[in-house]
């Protein structure tokens, strides 16, 4: 039997015709007139029944598989079935330094603390948001009445997160020892949940429960909870069975869930935070209020919406394959993305055996961070990733981070334009082509394993308007070299694709302008040679005969003994452009990505009267 999940079979007329055909093949009904009104009506009813049933069956079947399900609830449910918990909304987080200066206040305490949930206000695009501390922070008197607060890891950069602190309370009834507790909030950031269980309604002592995915082992006394998305987008809290899979709250217990209900990415970028209240400093003579001095260390980043269906579809199988342990390269990528996905745009992991320079016993991680992630946040994330790896690695291999090796692409797009086929001006069409080219690069480059394909881009250009008769594009590949000004330096640049062979007409390698030993120069290859020279821009003479070489087939360019005084144009780097050996594509290799350089790319219309 052939079975596929197709909707093409669900055409009513086809169903009716097939039914007719089937009945005609039956000797008992072979000679009936199926066009007659009575029988035709009967066939209509049966065909409708078939159509209806098939439609439901088709939909039910589609919703049964992670790759074909359309409903978010189905995708979430299927992902959870293989152990993947889709990410909830994520609150943006920032880091700040907090301090209180009491001067020489008599009788001041030696230690001050401010509680979890201390609030700060900020605005982004004229919309006000509230951030708050996610744990208690403490400070010690420096002897002069200055208190600088630190978190529980002794860091002065205190993390604050955006959101409204919500407390949800449940009472465990007699008949519900294995109940689930629904938290009706689609904006919940589940990573901020703090679950405590009280013995009864009046007691103040409580037991803290932790997320199941953070549990190292589970027995009947383990205090763990599971927080998962429900089909309607809310979240439900559940506990162990009370026997072997963790402790279950008992009848009469009070469950309190505190969490942040967040705006997600809307508050990303917030960089000025104002405390909503003063800090109380008690002395023997009474309480004294002082301002909390707040200095931003890193602006708010990593706020995100709930994980998308496509992301769940892609990540869940890899998460299942990893089984929460890091063995294969994809395990590393999957688990890092699962835990730090709110910071990461793309990730590539590979063993040292696959590195360009082999290094055994090492796993390399290359991460493209989201655009709003600062260097400080990225550095902190790398430390946290290493700590995570130490917990989840089966073999204690070293983790090494390798920043993505970026090769920039410069596209010179020209198209034949016949004005008689359009009412738009040449400039309008040129702008539209420019948008198409920019969108192509935005959607198809910038991540690992994304390649530039000229034919694909030109197909989009040709479709812009009937007046665009044909198009072509030249491609240059570009590396950026950041020198230490005034120093004699050497460097090796690795292009993502091979460089064109040198010729005797024009240089295939050429850089942006800079000053070297007081002369305005550019790097160029000597005609018909792999040798790189410094050419004076003012008189086109060779200023330095040999500053390196390049190898076309490998795309490796070496700079030797280069001295840069200053760079023209305000950049901190020199752009070294090269003709691509194969301008029809650029496929980055390991750890490489290609990115569009809009500044050195252009679109140009060539007006023609031909058809």
């Amino acid at each position: 039997m052939v079975t596929t999940i197709r909707s093409t079979d669900l055409d009513f007329t086809t169903i009716k015709n097939n039914l007719k055909l089937s009945l005609k093949n039956n000797t008992e009904f072979a000679d009936y007139n199926y066009e007659g009104s009575g029988l035709s009506n009967l066939l209509d009813v049966l065909a409708y029944n078939t159509h209806y049933n098939a439609l439901i069956a088709n939909m039910a079947l589609n919703e049964s598989y992670l790759t074909t399900a359309q409903l978010r609830s189905s995708v979430v449910s299927l992902a959870e079935a293989i152990g993947y918990m889709p990410a909830s909304k994520t609150a943006p987080s920032a880091t700040v330094n907090l301090s209180v200066n009491t001067g020489n206040l008599a009788g001041r305490p030696s230690v001050l603390s401010i509680p979890r949930g201390t609030k700060f206000t900020t605005t982004v695009d004229d919309v006000a948001y509230t951030f708050e501390t996610i744990g208690t922070v403490t400070a010690t008197d420096d002897g002069n009445g200055l208190y600088v607060f630190k978190d529980n890891l002794d860091r002065e950069a205190i993390t604050i997160k955006e959101g409204t602190n919500i407390t949800k309370t449940f009472l465990v009834s007699e008949n519900s020892p294995d109940s689930v507790y629904v938290i009706p909030d689609k904006d919940m950031d589940t990573t901020t949940a703090f679950v405590s269980v009280f013995a009864d309604l009046t007691t103040t002592a409580y037991a803290t429960y932790t997320d199941l995915k953070d549990a190292d082992s589970i027995d009947d006394q383990s205090k763990v909870y599971i927080l998962r998305e429900t089909p309607n987008g809310f979240f439900e809290l559940s506990f162990g069975d009370g026997n072997t899979l963790g402790k279950a709250p008992e009848s009469g217990n009070k469950i309190v869930v505190e969490y942040l209900s967040t705006s997600g990415p809307d508050a990303n970028g917030a960089d000025t935070f104002t405390p909503t209240a003063q800090v109380n400093v008690p002395t023997g003579a009474g309480n004294n209020a002082f301002n909390l001095t707040t200095t931003t260390v890193t602006k708010a980043v990593s706020g995100a919406l709930v994980e998308t269906v496509e992301s769940i579809r892609k990540n869940a199988p890899f998460s299942y394959a990893s089984q929460n342990r890091m063995v294969t390269a994809v395990d590393y990528a999957a688990l890092i993305k699962r835990n730090f996905g709110y910071l990461i745009k793309d990730i590539q992991a590979y063993g040292g055996e696959d590195a360009v320079r082999k290094e055994y016993g090492v796993v390399f991680i290359s991460i493209v961070f989201k655009d709003d992630v600062t260097q400080a946040t990225a550095d902190k994330a790398k430390g946290d990733i290493t700590a995570l790896a130490r917990q989840l690695q089966v073999i204690t291999f070293d983790i090494k981070f390798q920043d993505p090796d970026i090769t920039y692409l410069e596209a010179a797009v020209r198209f034949q334009f016949n004005p008689k086929f359009t009412s738009s001006s040449v400039q309008e069409i040129q702008n539209r082509v420019d948008d198409v080219v920019t969108n192509y690069f935005t959607n198809n480059t910038g991540l690992f394993d994304q390649s530039f394909r000229r034919s694909n881009m030109l197909a989009l250009v040709d479709d812009v308007d009937p007046s665009v008769l044909s198009s072509r594009a030249d491609l240059k590949i570009q590396k950026r070299y950041t020198p230490l000004l005034g120093s004699n330096e050497s460097a090796v640049l690795r292009y993502a694709s091979p460089i064109a062979e040198p010729n005797d007409e024009r240089p295939v390698v050429k850089s942006s302008a800079f000053f070297s030993n007081g002369v305005k120069v550019t790097i160029q290859n000597k005609l018909d040679s792999y040798k790189l020279q410094l050419i004076s821009i003012d008189d086109s003479t060779v200023f330095v005969d040999n500053v390196g070489e390049f190898a076309p087939s490998t795309g490796v360019l070496s700079l030797t003994g280069l001295i840069v005084d200053s760079i023209i144009g305000g950049n901190s780097f020199i752009k070294i452009s090269a003709d691509a050996a194969n301008p029809s594509s650029a496929s980055p290799g390991q750890n490489q990505i290609v990115v569009f350089d809009d500044d050195l790319s252009f679109v140009q219309a060539e007006i023609t009267a031909t058809n």
Partner: protein
Amino acid sequence: MSLDKTLRDINRRPLSVQDKKQVKGILPEYFQTEYPKFASFLEAYYDYQDSDLSPTRLIDELFLNRDITQVDIDLLSFIEDELLLGQQYFEGFVNKREAADYSSTLYKSKGTKYSIEQFFRVFFNTFVDVKYTKENVFIVGNVHDIEKEKANQNAGITPYAPEITVSASRIGHESQRYITNDKLYQKYALLIKTTLPIQTWIDEYKLFVHPAGMYVGGEVQIISIAEPDYLIMPPGIPDSDGPRYVDQADVAVVAFNATNHIVQDLGSRQEPFTLNPFQLGQFPPNMTLAAFDLNFNNLANVQNPGSNTFDDDSTPADPSYPKMSSDSKVLMNFSNDFF
């Protein structure tokens, strides 16, 4: 014809939602007497529903859609998407259902020798030999009889070098040791011997079970099947007698000489071991067993002139029996005592 001995219970669910036999049971009785044609017509309709022409055949699949054993092979590919990282590999799997069935076990044992063997069994229907080649790396240093030193330690005798737990390697092809290199013969490497070329399996292998950070080498095994005809004794030639055990003689050797056997202690029994006369000729006739024991770790040392060592500080009990010789045909090592 052999019997089907499979234990798989295909079609083990007695479910049929489109069974035409149900028609007459469900229709009111008077329909069957007054409108028998209509009942037959409905049965014909259900025949159509069961045919490939009808899209409602998918209804039957609803009950099986998550059943790896019975789900239609086309739909199984969707399960493979979830459990086996995408169906681009699906067509390559030899045992598609088993691959899905055992995915959890495979993933949980990832990084182990077992997982590698299971991977090849399930995905390529072949057996492999997995070697951790660090065990074949040549180790430079002192040669020690580790077991003997342990025994000495247990017996209260101060071991020669208790801190050394790995003996240095011996030179010679028979030791199967290799100088450290940047591929197989270093700490983080494994070798997979299989009948398949590495290009066939390397991508899937790395995706599913390979511990990132380790070098993986492949060796193609060419396995011949012996032709049994060659092993049959031609007719008319009687089998010769097999070896016979006659008796055991205890050999009490107190001094070594060229005409004696050396007694090899094999635990509870003693067994004669005859040395090559050529080698025996290299030793003085009055060499005692005690001196012999101190100079050689085991009989293999004596038997194999090629098993030289890089022992740099040997101290023979009796300097009159140096271990070293410039004659390459006899036992030798590189003792500092000699050079």
